[in-house]
Symmetry: C2
Subunit: 358 residues, 2 copies
Amino acid sequence: MLTRATLGCYVFETGYIRVIAVSSIRELARRCGVSVATVSRVFNTPEVVSQQTRQLVLGMAAEIGYLPNESARTLATKKSNMVGLVWDTDHRRPGWRHPFLQDILVALKSALSAHGLHLLMLAPDPGAGPGDPRRFLRAVQRHNVDGVVIIDNGSRDPAVLALVDSEVPCVALDLRFTGPTCTYITSDNAGGGRLAGAHLIERGHRHIATITGPARNWPAAQRLAGFREALTEAGIPLADDDVVAGDFYLDSGHAAMTKLLARDPRPTAVFAAGDEMAVGAIKAIREAGLRVPDDVAVIGFDDIEVAALIPPGLTTVTQDKTGFGTAAAESLTAMLAGTATPPEPTTLPTTLILRGST
Amino acid sequence: MLTRATLGCYVFETGYIRVIAVSSIRELARRCGVSVATVSRVFNTPEVVSQQTRQLVLGMAAEIGYLPNESARTLATKKSNMVGLVWDTDHRRPGWRHPFLQDILVALKSALSAHGLHLLMLAPDPGAGPGDPRRFLRAVQRHNVDGVVIIDNGSRDPAVLALVDSEVPCVALDLRFTGPTCTYITSDNAGGGRLAGAHLIERGHRHIATITGPARNWPAAQRLAGFREALTEAGIPLADDDVVAGDFYLDSGHAAMTKLLARDPRPTAVFAAGDEMAVGAIKAIREAGLRVPDDVAVIGFDDIEVAALIPPGLTTVTQDKTGFGTAAAESLTAMLAGTATPPEPTTLPTTLILRGST
DNA sequence: CGGTTTCATGTAACCGATTACATCAGATGA
DNA sequence: TCATCTGATGTAATCGGTTACATGAAACCG
């Protein structure tokens, strides 16, 4: 296909690729000797147009390189086939740096593509002030965005809530937002917490601590609840001092673990509610001259890339990142199709991944 | 601000936030008793409209919640304020799994936001076949996308080349595409390679191997060239068998290192042209019962998150990810402003990050 | 054979902006 | 005083689609 370079610019055997002077529906109609309505029907409701005309139009369209103009369609139909993505609303702590969320984005993008939906990363409307709670809603309205996916690190930004409370269909990922036009996708966090607890117990641990997430973070709370349940069932106590909160990022895991290692007696195993924190914990354990898993066993949550890479390999509870993407795309398309009520929230199963750290 | 929850749905003191029946420019003009042209001028060329009228219109606009419709503007002006993002064109090996590219995306997004540009992640045009080289170009044309940013793992997808060769302004990241409407941003890969080589030499190594990228990958070739230069200057030979190619991903680094360890005598240091490969290499070294850096020192390239996390810490050459984002946004806005020739390619400086692996 | 369906297509209004051009009042200048 | 310029605004065409409604031919039917 590729033949030679001119001007540092690759060319095809078919010649220099250039943007065709995109022709309008009227031009195409004229060339075909039919009305614009007929052409429009060929692309939107082909079944009502005769076989003959359809082929004539499609053939001519291919010949002159006709492409429907999406702006004009959006203007006429008020549907844009674009899904807005809201992220990074809190600039002090950009959620996007978190590898787990990045993985989800990848999955989301391809799931939406499969439904023919484009993903528009929304910049706050420049016409609105930085504190304006409508700054995303405004952008959404201006662009006739059909629906919105919210990926946020739980900052409860008023601008996000304004979206959730609006009439725009929303799907929140890993956040519990619901409403007449909003649903959400999460993992079975409680189940995952239970898995983690049960696994450590099964490995023979009787003094188990946990590094949990921020107190008001719902997934974190669920993970803790499930974990607690597993301990209670096994009749193992969980002292208040064995529960330390982090913020899902590395340093907080390190700090929390340092605190836990100061306990006497110190726990023989730790469940960290996020892999980044688990990695931080492992670091702290090593720095204290102790070994993982011999002195302290560590289990994480998320299964981010690093988990498999750091020695001795982090045992963790994996979340179905691809599932997040496809579930979001499906919930959203259901809402776009105009169901009376939003789809039920989706809970994705979690599974245990065994590695060397336990 | 936030007061109470109903239906799991947060509300504001101002009441339930709903999408206002967005009013049109005609409605606004009517309410103000002026013509639509005047209203349009208030938003686009405020300086030609009288102070008095301007305030009247702006006040009324705020009152009725008027927001200009972007589709209509795009239709009229043929400018959409949207930048298309092309990624993941090669489905067999999604570049987006690579953390380095993910970091760049984050930077790009915020740099474009600062210029008031939205980022549209392009799905291939559904009207085109999967092999159609115009599948992205078509999507770009349909949506009146102003310009395109290309982030790709060097797969040389014809669909990407079609964009580069089109009249649409393009900026390629970490890829050397140029043309009358295209420029690119890369790191100083040769300089980085030189840094890596010089560092290992300074550490006293005299038998140094390298795990390079794919042969036809330009950044990889540059890194190798710089590395070679450093060795040559120091009078240290580089045997052909000490150069093994990988594909930037983990497993290839592991495989390459395994091959290198079989050499006799085996190299005492390795420069991997990407951090993922470096991590794979470290894994292989450990599996062989050897220690890093005592038996074999390793230096990487990229400075992805893992580099800081795996013990003993990966010494690496860092790329300026934020710089990629801002440079791309600037080059693009320059082209959108309509310069005759595209801006010169940008080369971002690389620096050495010292950690435990060397 | 006339009336009713059905099917394919055309006509024209509409979506919500931009902008070339026209208009007109008031200021300027000879 | 009248021609000219300037500044503010209005008129109406245009961008490229969709779609309610109208039309007309062919098929069907008793």
